[in-house]
Symmetry: C2
Subunit: 395 residues, 2 copies
């Protein structure tokens, strides 16, 4: 059987191979990007489900509009207003998780050979998703304050990309947060160069002490013309439940209309039941309390992971302390300062009963082999201390 | 903003324009392809939802495997066995409705310029879905017994298509059912010409008096080698609820692995909650009773629609009586036997307060403008009689 040419653009992920090893009994995993299921408000979700399935269940079980279940579009609009972003219900569509928002952006925007700029490193599934549409991916360097805007601007001028994809807040895998000044500049560059910027924002609510800078979307009202060049992906996966598969896409009208047309032939619409559950949940006044627990829990875990890393690995590892999200991005400094080989280290770590993801696959090209990603979201404090201890032994 | 070239392959649907008119008050619609929501087993679904959200809800609300929720893969395997098809749980993946199964087949198989053969007429969303991947679609003629196999074979020899897409049982829009002899021959042709055949089977359970011939999938065990060239799409949309968005794809191992990889970057996985609800529902022994009501109801509506059409429109309309499914496919004979113009008739019908879909958009090319599709699934018997009366007035 001869498959489509586009499959040749995607390699089998190195991470996939690693994940196969995670089944080993007793392993402590910092490898996944999963929220802690103990923090899900299962009781609230069950109540919401019962409510929408007993009162007028017909529309919830019937086919629905490709754009999304109207009460949820309205609920998301209100939720976004609360975060300082003005988005009308008609200015967004509901997607089957924010992964589908990325897929629809790829399908709508990218012709084979088109260039796309992403952070180096960035979310692995974005790289692969866009490559399936034939994108040539170019990485822009980052530091603790997010993408280097001077270099990004130069890359835009040089490559005239179809779009720039960023995770400005608590990036995956970087943990970095783009500074307010850089956010402002990126919007200005988008307008000046007429370049679509895609803001992926699944983690923005997961801050520890203080809220991050406003999203590009929230800031766009202050930068004339920037809304015409900005798309924004949101998700309930990290704040409510990933198993529901409900996300959303905010975009300029023509892009949104084309993405809706593409979605019609991708999955017709997102499950009305899970959409109705999210819509009802938003009216239950439980989200703030749920998020407060998640923030407190992840903040404590991040603090313990940082302390443990410094105590147990000392100078052998370098990292920036994240202010939210789910990830530490670290670098093995190595004896000579040139960096040790993280993939080899990952194998030794598995032998010691602890797992993480080497950083290489998060780079579209020129991977830094000394990097690695550690998630502090899933394991509790005791496991984090024990796991980092095992990491020290593996080193 | 410059969009992807693939969007140029898809026109805005003529149906979409018509659907805008359906909001007119008091209209009786035979236009949709929606099941009757009064027949949904909302109580059973609510019970299933409560069960999966109260007993160990963690895995249901967490990220899940791209291949699908394992208890549902097992449930579908057992369900398919009951219909005479041997499919192991590992031989299928769960999709976000069967529309996504079509999308994944397109993404996995079709390179721009590849040829695909479909029935003329066929499901509109399949044509558009495959065109978005650059397919050149070729229609094969059908009659009351489904696709004309001699002509299909000749088209395969001539065009060497990437795949052949068929709705063998109670086709949409044709209502036709492929005969057993033709099914057998198609499997033999697939093996001989090494051509992938995609069997879309959303309607097979909606039979009136007697079960239709076994699916191509069920028959494939008797045709050596045919399983290697057969994919099969199933769905809970017509038998349980479309709002859940749960379908499945059975395919040879290499195709299934590639489709799974594509799905990972399309939506990561289908909602675990709706998957778990379907899995639990299958264990509740309610499906047979639910289906019995659906079959009885649709059979009665189809009978009344046929009688009304004959009584009210007489020789002005020709159609084959379907033995299941949701659709009548009809032809306006016209005064001279050459056929009247169905799109014009559709506009006059709307003025009289009744809607249907003209047949033209269901043809990939060379549309028969005298054809139309009438759904008997959504309106009750009284509305069907009244609606067909209005149709006669419009004529």
């Amino acid at each position: 059987m001869q498959f489509a040419d586009r499959l040749k653009n995607v390699e089998t992920s190195a991470i996939r191979e690693l994940f196969k090893l995670l089944g080993k009994p007793g392993i402590i995993s910092f490898a996944g990007g999963f929220p802690d299921p103990a923090l899900f408000d299962a009781e609230g979700i069950a109540q919401a489900s019962q409510a929408v399935l007993t009162h007028n269940p017909g529309p919830v079980l019937q086919y629905g509009a490709t754009e999304g279940y109207q009460p949820l579009r309205e609920g998301i609009s209100t939720f976004m207003e609360g975060k300082g972003s003005s988005v009308r219900p008609e200015g967004l569509i509901v997607t089957t998780g924010s992964q589908q928002a990325l897929d629809l952006i790829g399908k709508t925007m990218i012709s084979p050979g088109d260039k796309v700029i992403v952070e180096a490193p960035t979310f692995l599934a974005t790289i692969q998703c866009f490559r399936l549409y034939g994108a040539h991916i170019i990485g822009a360097p980052i530091d603790a304050d997010g993408v280097d805007v001077d270099k990004l601007e130069a890359l835009i001028e040089e490559h005239k990309p179809k779009l720039v994809y960023l995770i400005p807040t608590f990036g995956n895998p970087s943990g970095a947060t783009l500074s307010l000044a850089r956010r402002q500049r990126i919007l200005e560059i988008a307008v000046r160069t007429q370049t679509l910027v895609v803001e992926d924002d699944p983690y923005g609510e997961l801050y520890f002490d203080q809220a991050p800078p406003p999203s590009l979307l929230a800031l766009s009202d202050g930068v004339p013309g920037s809304r015409d060049w900005l798309a924004h992906c949101g998700s309930f996966s990290k704040i409510l439940s990933p198993g529901l598969r409900v996300g959303w896409l905010v975009a300029p009208p023509a892009l949104l209309a084309n993405a809706t047309m593409c979605k019609q032939f991708s999955d017709a619409h997102t499950s009305n039941l899970t959409q109705a559950i999210c819509a009802h949940y938003l009216t239950m006044n439980r989200l703030d309390a749920t998020l407060a627990v998640v923030r407190r829990t992840y903040a404590e875990r991040a603090r313990v992971m940082a302390e443990s890393l410094r105590r147990e690995l000392g100078d052998a590892i370098a990292f920036n302390q994240p202010r939210g999200g789910m990830f530490f991005w670290a670098r093995l400094t190595g004896a000579n300062g040139k960096g040790s080989h993280a993939p080899d280290f990952a194998k030794r770590a598995i032998d010691q009963g602890v797992a993480f993801v080497p950083g290489a696959p998060f780079f579209a090209h020129d991977p830094d082999l000394s990097t690695l990603r550690l998630s502090f979201a899933t394991a509790d404090v005791a496991k984090i201390e024990e796991g980092i201890g095992r990491l020290a032994q593996a080193l």
